[in-house]
Symmetry: C2
């Protein structure tokens, strides 16, 4: 038991001006400033124990952000963006409610020690989204891709969905660079449409991009449209393309239906969208039951830091498999965290520091607090001119 009482609670609006470099641009968010609501709960306990919570937001930061279009897509207008998904992460004990959970975890004991060793030695396989944001020129794309290959990356995700000709050209560039074959664990290409299409449009567009052999198409349509995903999945799986979704799914009830409806082939949990550790664990167990690989969404602010805990747990104690599994990685904003992720040979190396890796550096928070931090004090007047 934690001793001591809560002595202080602070909530801060931290924003990084990522839009200045075109980082993070996709078919739905053309100029996002990656931001976070950051909460610290301090106690008067002797050991000074505290809890840090973070939630990632896009664009308008921690403001609730309604879109211009009123299309009603989550993350767009129908409900608020992430800015309200905050849950404190201190002392998150897992409460496994799913009926089959106990049995799965029992089975997960077999070979657990070996998998733990394997993770400590090799890490959990990752793919990179950092090379092919929509905001990057072809030259930047090529340069980043070449560098990533040199650094050992073999799996690349490309943002698509704004313009078909652009997509064809960009996917060709990547395919040319990584080689012709889609093999199970190497040199993969994933595509991500960020909810841009309706159902028939998704099928049509992806039929044209099929020749670039993507492993999956991510968020082909509104993430609320479970039955729509099932229809798209039925059309694209015969072409060798799986459906990946989940970063906008707010609870296990949505994931249950996606699994029941055979609407996805890759399940993308998000550490901040789901209600903290417990809800994520329920989804890991369901995915195991349906034998669908979990390939977490990450990036943003702190999502990599958080989700590595969940996916390594998944491998060691739940799925016991790396087949068709890979965790997203985006190479920015880690420098603001006290315990940043460690990537080696394109893999997440298991964190050894205590906690959920949520703590940010005080200096970074101060600098990027909106609108009074040093960074914004400089930027805001400049943007007004």
């Amino acid at each position: 038991m934690v001793r001591g009482r809560i002595s202080r609670l602070s909530v801060r609006d931290v924003r990084f001006p990522t839009s200045l470099g075109g980082h993070g641009a996709d078919a739905m968010h053309t100029d996002p400033d990656y931001s976070a609501a950051y909460v610290v709960i301090e106690t008067d306990a002797e050991d000074g124990i505290k809890g840090c919570g973070i939630t990632f937001t896009l664009g308008k930061g921690t403001e609730v952000d309604w879109s211009r279009k009123g299309r009603g897509a989550p993350g767009d207008s129908g409900r608020p963006k992430r800015g309200v998904g905050l849950v404190g992460q201190a002392g998150g004990k897992a409460c496994l409610e799913v009926t089959c959970g106990h049995e799965i975890l029992q089975k997960g004991q077999i070979g657990k020690k070996e998998r733990e060793k394997q993770m400590l030695a090799q890490g959990y396989p990752a793919y990179t989204t950092s090379c092919a944001w929509l905001g990057y020129s072809d030259d930047t794309l090529k340069q980043l891709c070449a560098q990533a290959l040199k650094d050992g990356w073999t799996r690349f995700k490309v943002k698509v969905g704004a313009d078909l000709q652009d997509d064809m050209r960009r996917c060709q560039i990547i395919r040319d660079m990584i080689g012709p074959e889609k093999t199970l664990s190497l040199f993969l290409q994933m595509m991500d449409a960020n909810q841009r299409w309706d159902v028939p449009e998704a099928v049509e567009w992806m039929s044209k991009l099929a020749k670039f052999k993507p492993l999956w198409i991510e968020e082909p349509t509104s993430p609320d449209d479970i039955l729509g995903h099932a229809t798209i999945s039925k059309a694209l799986v015969p072409l060798g393309i799986g459906i990946a979704t989940g970063e906008q799914c707010h609870n296990r009830v949505i994931f249950k239906q996606l699994l029941q409806a055979k609407a996805l082939q890759f399940l993308q949990i998000d550490s901040c969208r789901l209600g903290s550790v417990n809800e994520n664990l329920s989804v890991l167990l369901m995915a195991k039951k349906f034998e669908i690989p979990v390939c977490p969404h990450a990036g943003g602010v702190g999502l990599c830091e958080l989700v590595q805990h969940l996916i390594i747990f998944d491998y060691i104690s739940v799925s016991a498999s790396l087949e068709n599994r890979v965790c997203e990685y985006v190479d920015h904003l880690h420098e603001h965290f006290k315990y940043p992720v460690m990537i080696q040979r394109a893999s997440y190396m298991p964190p050894k520091d205590p906690g959920y890796s949520t703590e940010m550096k005080e200096e970074s928070v101060k600098k990027h607090q909106y609108p009074d931090g040093e960074v914004w004090k400089k930027l805001l007047p400049a943007q007004e001119n």
Copy 2:
């Protein structure tokens, strides 16, 4: 075109201490204080035109409210309650995007004048939820029911789902008072479980309550569980019980799937949960296409005031039918509105004042502002003792 520019915007947190009387209690919310975020946008236009927007919240008012249980049900923990569903209502033009919309509206022209006259004379049929909140004793229930029958009400909704024996007793009381027959337009009983059950539990519980001949069971399970509703619907329709849901559905994508999956027999739009007038209109058109009656959710703070516009428009211009249709009515908090609903012979009489009936009385807002209004200044210190 509106002339003038926005000169002032105010946002206020208005809360009514409804929990003191047990009003509004259901299987999920045992002591709600009905509350609203209230926004007024003023302009410097010569005619002084202004826009008022309201969103209804439960319990913690306009705070984002995470449940104790972490069950991930919307309106409970998986995503925030209504407190963030705010959309200004000034000058809401309908933008009908649904493909079939034009055709439906064309057909809706036939007989429109007659229906308009009929509405002006008779109003839109309503049912009452005011008699049978879970927080009321049997005596209160009987007394309110008797009074409502005297006032001309013939359709009653009862909250269920907390305790089966209690439900059986309360449903029997109502059935005894309104008579034995379930007929199409008179003396109906609806039941509302407020998401309390899982799927098999809903079927089992309602099989036991079937003998009281409810027209529908509302929110039998998580409102996110479209496929779950389809399963429940398949089991209960043969028993003569329809499924009603929608008050927690945040966009037309969810309603599209509920309709596609045959998951509901009564569709309950909510004027504040959906993104304003446009999103509601899309849903009205889809419901017409699928021939499912719309029976709006209302009550709360201002929901009756707003939704009467939508449902009367639905009858006059879209559905052209009153068959199996009825709009919820809850008899409280109307006195705080400048243009409150007018009920005659258990029907909503069409509002004749300009606008969307969103404007609150300044005096009421001042008094109930949280935490500084007169009402809360008195109540808060008392609650602390």
